[in-house]
Symmetry: C2
Subunit: 177 residues, 2 copies
């Protein structure tokens, strides 16, 4: 059943996501506000209020939208990590950092962040690790450790997720098996 009334514009979504990721890439998102997004995306500021409760939710949706089309989690753990690292170092890092910052001040948004975005990412990581580690408890701990190291490099020490990092994470799994 399709609901009555004017449907949500797909053009708006696309323009908003594009402009959001563009603003995040420039100056690591210092100028990311509803104002700048609305101006750049040729969209009314009010529309942003109507469709997203918070700027963080816009970033979250923009990241999810792009991640869904560029990250494959069906191969080996190493392949997944290579894919993931390329995405983060390629385009996702500023957005991840912005979302992380927003989650520190807004408890409600932090909950949404964890239940939607983080939940998806975590299960992907978990299945990837489980495929190479039979012990369920060990797999859980290792997946958590990889996720922790990932965020640590992204948000705290700001280091690239290079080949050395991937090797180290894979070594973590081998040492436990």
């Amino acid at each position: 059943m399709t609901r009555a009334g004017r449907p949500l514009s797909v053009v708006v979504e696309h323009a908003v996501y594009t402009e959001t990721l563009r603003l995040l890439a420039d100056e690591s998102g210092t100028a990311l506000h509803r104002q700048s997004i609305a101006d750049g995306a040729q969209v009314s500021r009010q529309t942003l209020y109507n469709r997203w409760p918070t700027v963080g939710d816009i970033v979250l949706d923009a990241l999810s939208d792009r991640a869904a089309r560029s990250i494959d989690s069906s191969g080996t753990l190493r392949a997944y990590l290579v894919d993931l690292a390329a995405a983060i170092d390629g385009w996702a890092r500023p957005g991840l950092r912005w979302v992380l910052a927003a989650a520190q001040h807004d408890t409600n948004f932090a909950e949404r962040f964890r239940s939607t975005f983080l939940g998806m990412r975590h299960t992907a990581m978990h299945t990837a690790v489980t495929s190479e580690l039979s012990d369920r408890e060990a797999a859980r701990r290792t997946a958590d450790l990889i996720a922790a190291s990932l965020w640590y490099n992204v948000a705290i020490v700001d280091r690239p997720l290079d080949a050395a990092w991937i090797d180290e994470m894979c070594g973590l799994v081998e040492a436990t098996s």
Copy 2:
């Protein structure tokens, strides 16, 4: 040689640090601004501009000031982690989260954050781990992993650093030795 002119007021520092930590404890620091700090600490807002380049630097100094008087890193690794976990879950967590958020938007502040605060904490962790792990390279990796897990629990999943976490971190060292 003492410099000419009126000396920096120690009263100002103390009042500012106290009010900052108090504001951070209430509502996890949503109302932490120069304005609110100045009002609560009975200090001119201009003074804050004169002495700290950023609100983040105020928080950083407030945390360092208190951490210097309440965290001991001279015993075993387990003792250090117990001490550290108690401090974070006791009073430091909101401040750490606030600083982390600020570091995501301000590159210069992020650099100060790493070179001062993070540097101190990292060497403390490193020596604590080295005391129980002879291999230097393994010690470095393990210390990084513990730090990563710590920040992950503080800023991403928002879970307490309880006894189970301490056990898991100690287990990480034993598995490597």
